[in-house]
């Protein structure tokens, strides 16, 4: 089709027979690009390359692995699961009834022993197990516009089923996430003396500054039939409700920790810490565990041996492979680029 036009479009396109003048030559212009001859590097996996790469990986990985393991070992962590233990014996058959009964005092006292010296800051976390903060129904049930801007308080789309109060006015903050705000509280005492927990700066600064408005105050919060968790002081702007901000950063996995506060004081080995906690939060209805975690931190974060082990394993494996390849190359050498290995040279009758 195009050809037809190309030649018939106008008499100026030339008669096209062999005697056409040279200027009409359709010879493609030569350039390194159009002839696919751009200068290029052609790497080949030679034995030397393979062995060097593997050795290099080993050399890099093993030290990192060792360092990670050491860092992880230096972290001191106290984990105390209290959800079952904080239920009085007479209520253990009806945990849900216990937790839902507002008339019962939920106080509970736990005693923790520090296994090793812990340098400040000591992070206080609560850990929930089996709590699917990443469940589709849950994770979507929020409205970030509302949290940020007081003008947009009635933007509650996506917040079902915690959207509007009975009178139709919007709930701020709306949605399941805010509604289910964790409400256990902890207070610590070291040999009778109160250990202060600093709850400032436990959330991301970016969230405080930009995501949660300084002029947005809670409204209609936890006014429904079913209370999901903590109530919020309606006189404090959202940007200062750091527990909420921490909670609203939904966890990636069903077992997660949330920062509760920091103890800015060194602890000695064998110190005994008394924790008075209010066991308010209902995880009993879905068999969720609740744990209190006190942990120091390293450059790698909390206590986790995995990354160290993984690096050591991979590094070791690479060293092993490098050796194995060296041996194999020595035992069964092949001259690179030897034409006699070409299939038609190996069995000339083949084709």
């Amino acid at each position: 089709m195009n050809d037809y036009h190309g030649s018939a479009a106008g008499p100026s396109s030339g008669s096209g027979d062999g005697s056409a003048p040279r200027r009409n030559s359709k010879r493609p212009k030569y350039s390194k690009f159009t002839q696919q001859e751009l200068p290029a590097c052609k790497p080949i996996l030679t034995p030397r390359w393979v062995i060097s790469v593997l050795t290099l990986v080993g050399v890099v990985f093993v030290p990192i692995g060792v360092a990670s393991l050491m860092a992880s070992n230096n972290v001191v962590e106290i984990v105390d699961r209290y959800d079952a233990k904080c239920i009085p014996g007479n209520m253990s058959s009806d945990k849900v009834g216990y937790i839902q009964d507002d008339t019962i005092d939920k106080s509970c006292i736990r005693t923790l022993t520090v296994p090793k010296d812990m340098d400040q800051p000591i992070y206080v976390y609560y850990q929930l197990d089996n709590f699917y903060q990443n469940h589709r129904r849950y994770v979507k049930s929020r409205n970030d516009a509302q949290l940020r801007d007081s003008e947009q308080a009635d933007k509650t789309s996506g917040c079902d089923p915690e959207k509007n109060a009975r009178d139709g006015s919007p709930i701020v903050p709306c949605g399941l996430i805010a509604w289910s705000l964790f409400n256990d509280t902890y207070s610590f005492a070291l040999s009778g003396k109160i250990l202060t927990v600093n709850k400032k700066d436990i959330s991301w600064k970016s969230d405080r500054d930009h995501k949660f408005g300084k002029d947005v105050f809670p409204r209609n919060f936890q006014n429904g039939t079913l209370k999901g968790g903590a109530t919020l002081n309606p006189n404090i702007p959202l940007s200062d409700q750091e527990d909420l901000i921490v909670w609203m950063r939904t966890a990636a996995l069903p077992t997660f920790r949330k920062l509760y506060g920091r103890i800015e004081q060194d602890l000695k080995a064998n110190d005994t810490i008394t924790v008075t906690l209010k066991n308010n939060y209902n995880t009993y209805s879905f068999n969720g565990k609740k744990k209190l975690v006190l942990s120091t931190s390293s450059w790698l974060g909390g206590k986790n041996d995995f990354i160290g082990i993984a690096y050591l394993t991979v590094g070791g494996l690479c060293f092993f492979l490098a050796t194995a390849f060296t041996v194999v190359y020595l035992v069964k050498p092949r001259k690179l680029g030897d034409p006699s290995y070409l299939s038609w040279n190996r069995n000339p009758s083949g084709h």
Binding site: M1, D3, Y4, H5, S7, A8, G10, P11, S15, G16, G18, R27, P28, Q35, Q36, L38, C41, K42, P47, V57, I64, F131, Y132, Q133, N134, H135, R136, Y138, V139, D160, P161, N164, L176, S206, G224, G228, R249, T250, A251, A252, L253, P254, R257, L259, S285, G288, G301, G302, N304, A310, Y311, V314, F325, R334, G337, P339, L342, S343, W344, H351
Partner: protein
């Protein structure tokens, strides 16, 4: 092609003939109203040129062409492929144009012709869309692709609130991008067509205005059927029109049909004598003419109609019509009436779009796509079933679980919130998981493949090695979707004439009276020059081309003594000079005293013969419809052409009846030896006949094309009888063609043999070398030719197809039984057992003796489409070389189908002529040679190029690259998308199967269209495993494509296993590292996003063969772009995950995870690659090493033997 259409010549021409002729006629026919003489019609005597459109047009148009669908060379009229149509053919030629099926054209009166403006105007429209219809039509066309429907359904599904996995915009985006890119591409192409249409439609022609009674300018688009147009020299013809008058008093016009069929020589067209005398002009705006012609059809060589002038009915044939797209040459002006306009012109009916074929790789890809769908469904089932089980287990808990909140307490009535029972939830989970995992089927792959093919086509077109200097033609990619098939060809079917050979005929030798004159080869240049110069009237007339002459023959011709042999020789050359349809054109040169004679004709054989005759002193100087002027050895003589029986495929000869100056009437016949020896008077000259046959055989075995020339002197009675019969026949309304043929057969008998000519059909440059390397590459070359067996075999030897150590199996039978017997003999003799999977015994036996099968068209009649086909297939596939001679066009297609239907091997057909069209369309890849013969082959082809030898760089270099690139790209795209899906899947297992994704929806959407799209396209266009030099040096490297080495189920499986492993690394390393930590979903998602993008790009980087700056830029640039995208997404305050990337990037664990993922993810692949490349190197790998080491050594070790391929 309507050869039965005859042409009437006006009396004026007869009057212009020699007086002697006139006197001869006088007594018998005092005043004949008009003599009916046949006219040469546009067909060469030997070149196989059947109806090129018969294949495609047969279904749509009634068959009226007299040209059989069998080869002209085919000796047996009952050739199987054609025989079915035989009766129909005759029937249709007898059919008169009934008014119901005819178009009535009132000459000069468009109003009566087309009163209700129902006929299309002359504006052409090649553009597909208008601005208004673009959107719906383009979308409609795009959605023909099944995959798009799939994505559309998913996007629609996602709009339902229950399934809203992604935001509405996000779910539409990938499909929208793909549709948009394609739409923009289509729109641009269409815009270009619009522009071309506009230019074409607004060209100006002069049209006779009946009211103003003068020729006025009118735009092409306004021309209507019935209008009378005037076209001047060198102008293009605006529409198909019937000639009424020309500047030549005899009504001759010359047109060049380059744009129509690519033939650059001039063709003669005639105006009817009834109209030339009194054409409609300023004085008579409306002629009293009525043209009745057939409905528009695609046959550019056919036209059937008649014209009523002054109450007389005059028949019109293809030589009376000039077609749109042609150019008027050597004629001052013509006047004609438009009969077909615009979209109904033959050129427009023929301009079908590029053929659409599907590549092998794409077909195979569909199999893997199905597998991927299976995996997708399996994943979705796992998720939905687990979801159901989880909900079953937690049935009681869900009411109060804060993260689920089954009940909606906001109203007093106790209803469920967004919960429809476990069954429905499972169902929803299934559909949602389809939405989440949708990119398992890579939508971007389709658009990437298209872009990559465009890029590949760009490089193929731009390759200077595929540019043909002699015809000034570049490589053409007409089909854009089978580039990669070029890398998998197993069979090449080649036409001979014009493909292997140049189709530039050169007269080599002649046998006259049984004596061989082949000394021309040693003739000096001076000798040739002497004969090409001709002195007449102070002017030097020179031949455009001279032929080396045999001195002995020259002496014989010049000698005055009247020997029998001398007379015979003179008559022989006289026959060559007059028995043809060549038109001599006198062209001025820079020297005013020097003119150049250029013989224009449609058959290169005839041209060669006329040049030869001229070189020997019989110079054809002038040809009109009634007479010719020949300079016989310096003496100008006028011969009247009394009759001409054109060439047809049944007779395979042509003849002229010449009235000589000495008042004798002679019949000269020239034709193929098989047809000529039957009509030669056997009783006399027996020795000469025998000698001639011997010489002919010798010529044939040299690879020369032969023609036998005979003569008979007609007695007056005989001539008058013939003339009478001829007049009757040519005015007959029914069966005119058959009558004329019978007449010709009747008079062409009892000939005296004069001699025979040998014409060399020169091999194209580089053909033997090309064939040799193609065969080294494991490609089987089959040559299919219309030539006879000896010629075919000799060409086979000269192009190194056949070698002396080959055992030849010749099948040359006249009956079914003998065919069967020869096939069975061959099977028995060469122990052929099974075609493709021959056991070791046969394969070793085969290795010892290379076999060549030579089979002719007659035998094929008994073989093709019978149970013998299987037998032939067995024999043919074990043969190294197959030569089919004397095959008809449809038989060519039949042979291609023989292989195509029985094996999975890819077939390629290459040809240049209209007779190759069926074969080109049948083969997986069709290549047209844009050379001497018409454009029909090119129009039907997928690729077109100038020379046969370009097949080597095309297949070995571009084909190999294309295949390798495309195969890798498909596998890589599957891998890339499945890695991503598996990561999503692993995460879903930790979200109570609720299909949450850690990766933000925007990243999931952008992943395949932005994050990872560019590098694979760049690599798909630019990467090359081996250099051009190496690929040409080692043709065997081509076999990797034939054996599907780069794309097969095993590779696919390995790739999928690798992708599972990599996804495990990407998900589980962070999972284990961040378990029991405060990490939030978005941070984990950002880590996965970056990890997967880096990993898949490193994966690609590891497989890149050649790193040039573009590759570097695209791969590293893509990673950078991804980081930027992630940062941008995380800077949007409205999204829940904002700022996560900045938080996580500040921790050491993030970087350790990233590094760990990349190393752990790539390690298995790296080890596998190192092991296979070292211990099980493929040929390609070794060649790569060779290439690299040679360059390092910097010693230009070996010269490339096939330097001819790289030299244009």
């Amino acid at each position: 092609m309507g050869r039965e259409e005859e042409e009437e010549v006006e009396e004026a021409i007869m009057d212009g003939t020699t007086t002697s002729q006139k006197q001869d006629e006088g007594p018998c026919h005092p005043t004949p109203p008009s003599s009916h003489l046949p006219k040469p019609i546009s067909d060469p005597p030997l070149a196989t040129r059947p109806d090129p459109l018969s294949l495609s047009s047969s279904r749509h148009h009634r068959r009226r062409s007299s040209v059989p669908h069998v080869s002209i060379d085919s000796p047996d009229p009952t050739v199987r492929h054609g025989s079915r149509n035989e009766s129909e053919r005759f029937a249709s030629s007898q059919r008169e144009l009934a008014d119901a099926v005819a178009r009535l054209v009132f000459v000069g009166d468009p109003g009566s012709t087309d009163p209700r403006l129902k006929l299309p105007g002359n504006s052409v429209r090649t553009a597909k869309y208008s601005p208004l219809t673009f959107l719906p039509r383009n979308l409609f066309e795009q959605f023909h692709r099944l995959a798009y429907i799939y994505f559309l359904v998913i996007a629609i599904l996602n709009q339902l609130p229950q399934f809203a996995v992604f935001g509405r915009g996000a779910s539409i985006l990938p499909l929208a991008i793909v549709l948009l890119v394609t739409a923009v591409k289509d729109a641009y192409e269409d815009w270009r067509r619009h522009r071309a249409d506009r230019i074409e439609n607004n060209r100006v022609s002069s049209v006779l205005d009946p009211h103003a009674a003068q020729f006025l300018s009118k735009r092409w688009k306004d021309v209507r059927v019935g209008e009378v147009l005037k076209v001047l020299a060198d102008e293009s013809i605006p529409c198909d029109m019937v000639l009424l008058a020309t500047s030549d008093p005899t009504g001759v016009a010359y047109v060049q049909t380059t744009n129509l069929d690519g033939e650059s020589n001039l063709k003669t067209r005639y105006a009817k004598q009834e109209t030339t005398s009194r054409p409609p002009d300023e004085a008579h705006p409306v002629a009293a003419g009525l043209i009745r012609c057939e409905r528009p059809n695609r046959n550019i060589y056919g036209f059937l109609g008649n014209m009523e002038v002054d109450g007389k009915r005059v028949s019109l044939g293809p030589s009376n019509i000039i077609l749109r797209g042609c150019e008027l040459k050597n004629t001052a002006w013509v006047i004609g009436v438009a009969v077909y306009t615009g979209s109904e012109t033959k050129v427009m009916l023929n301009s079908s779009g590029a053929p659409s074929k599907r590549s092998r790789l794409e077909t195979q890809m569909n199999r893997e796509t199905l597998l991927l769908s299976g995996i997708l469904i399996a994943l979705c089932l796992v998720v939905s079933i687990c979801n159901g089980i989880w909900m079953g287990n937690h049935k009681g808990d869900l009411e109060f679980a804060q993260f689920f909140r089954k009940r909606d307490y906001s109203d007093s009535d106790d209803k469920n919130y967004n919960y429809y029972g476990i069954g429905m939830e499972v169902f929803f989970a299934f559909l949602m998981s389809v939405i989440v995992f949708q990119i398992m089927i890579p939508i971007s792959l389709y658009i990437s493949m298209e872009l990559v093919r465009l890029g590949q086509a760009f490089f193929m077109i731009g390759d200077t090695n595929l540019y043909d200097e002699s015809s000034n033609s570049r490589f053409q990619c007409r089909a854009l979707n089978i580039n990669e098939d070029l890398g998998q060809i197993k069979y090449v079917f080649s036409d001979k004439t014009g493909t292997l050979t140049e189709n530039k005929m050169e007269f080599q030798c002649a046998t006259i009276g049984g004596i061989d004159y082949s000394g021309g080869k040693v003739a000096s240049h001076d000798n040739g020059k002497e004969h090409s110069i001709l002195d007449c009237a102070d002017q030097i007339w020179k031949l455009k081309m001279s032929v080396k002459t045999d001195p002995e023959l020259v002496m014989l011709l010049r000698s005055k003594c009247e020997t029998e042999q001398g007379k015979r020789a003179r008559e022989f050359f006289l026959a060559l000079a007059c028995c043809n349809t060549i038109v001599p054109l006198v062209v001025g040169t820079s020297d005013p005293n020097e003119n150049l004679i250029d013989y224009q004709g449609e058959s290169p054989d005839e041209q060669a013969l006329v040049y030869a005759a001229a070189s020997y002193g019989f110079v054809l100087i002038e040809r009109t419809s009634g007479h010719i002027v020949i300079d016989v050895l310096g003496d100008r003589q006028r011969f009247s052409v009394l009759g001409l029986h054109e060439f047809d495929s049944d007779r395979k000869r042509m003849s002229v009846i010449i009235g000589c100056p000495d008042n004798t009437v002679k019949l000269f016949v020239k034709g193929a030896d098989s047809s000529m020896f039957g009509i030669i008077e056997k009783t006399i000259d027996l020795g000469i006949i025998r000698e001639t046959e011997t010489n002919l055989h010798a010529y044939s075995s040299l690879g020369l094309r032969t023609l036998v020339v005979g003569v008979r002197e007609l007695s007056r009675n005989e001539f008058e009888e013939w003339k009478h019969a001829y007049e009757n026949a040519s005015t007959a309304l029914i069966g005119r063609g058959r009558l004329l043929r019978a007449l010709a057969t009747n008079i062409e008998r009892d000939l005296h043999i004069l001699g025979a000519s040998g014409i060399e059909d020169k091999l194209q440059q580089g053909v033997p070398e090309a064939i040799e390397s193609i065969r080294q590459a494991g490609i089987k070359v089959w040559v299919l030719t219309g030539d006879k067996q000896e010629t075919a075999i000799s060409i086979g030897f000269s192009c190194k197809l056949l070698t002396s150590d080959m055992a030849q199996i010749v099948i040359n039978s006249n009956s079914r039984d003998s065919c069967k017997k020869s096939l069975q003999d061959a099977v028995a003799r060469y122990a052929i057992i099974s075609p493709s999977h021959g056991d070791s015994v046969t394969s070793t036996a085969r290795a010892k003796v290379p076999l060549a099968l030579i089979i002719d068209g007659t035998s094929l009649v008994y073989v093709l489409e019978t149970e013998l086909e299987e037998e032939l297939f067995k024999v043919a596939t074990v043969c190294d070389v197959v030569l089919c001679c004397r095959v008809a066009p449809l038989q060519k297609a039949g042979i291609v189908a023989l292989i195509k239907n029985r094996t999975d091997d890819m077939t390629l057909a290459i040809g240049d002529g209209a007779n190759d069209v069926s074969m080109i369309q049948m083969a997986d890849v069709g290549i047209g040679i844009s050379g001497q013969e018409g454009r029909q082959a090119v129009m039907a082809s997928d690729f077109a190029m100038g020379q046969f030898r370009f097949l080597v760089p095309l297949l070995f270099v571009h084909g190999h690259w294309n295949y390798q690139r495309m195969a890798y790209m498909i596998l890589y795209n599957f891998y890339r998308n499945s890695v991503f899906v598996f990561i999503l899947f692993w995460y879903v297992l930790y979200t109570a199967y609720s299909l949450t994704t850690a990766i933000t929806e925007w990243s999931s959407v952008l992943y395949s269209v932005i994050y990872t799209a560019l590098p694979t396209i760049v690599v798909g266009i630019l990467d090359k495993d081996l250099s051009r030099k190496t690929l040409i040096k080692y043709p065997q490297l081509y076999m990797s494509g034939q054996q599907n080495e780069k794309y097969n189920l095993r590779l696919f499986m390995l790739t999928m296993i690798d992708s599972v492993w990599q996804s495990v690394a990407i998900f589980y390393i962070p999972y284990l590292a961040y378990r029991h930590s405060t990490v939030d979903g978005s941070s984990l998602g950002d880590l996965s996003t970056l990890a997967v993008v880096i990993l898949v790009n490193i994966h690609l980087a590891m497989d890149v063969f050649r790193w040039n700056w573009i590759t570097h830029a695209s791969i590293w640039g893509c990673i950078v772009a991804t980081v930027i995208c992630v940062i941008v997404i995380d800077s949007i305050w409205m999204l829940p995950g904002c700022w996560a990337i900045f938080h996580i990037m500040r921790t050491g664990l993030f970087w350790l995870c990233l590094l760990g993922i990349v190393v752990a993810g790539m390690l298995p692949r790296f080890i596998m690659k190192a092991l296979t490349e070292y211990f099980m190197p493929s040929d390609i790998q070794i060649a790569r090493e060779l290439e690299k080491l040679q360059r390092l050594n910097a010693t230009a070790t070996t010269e490339i033997p096939m330097s001819t391929f790289s030299q244009p």
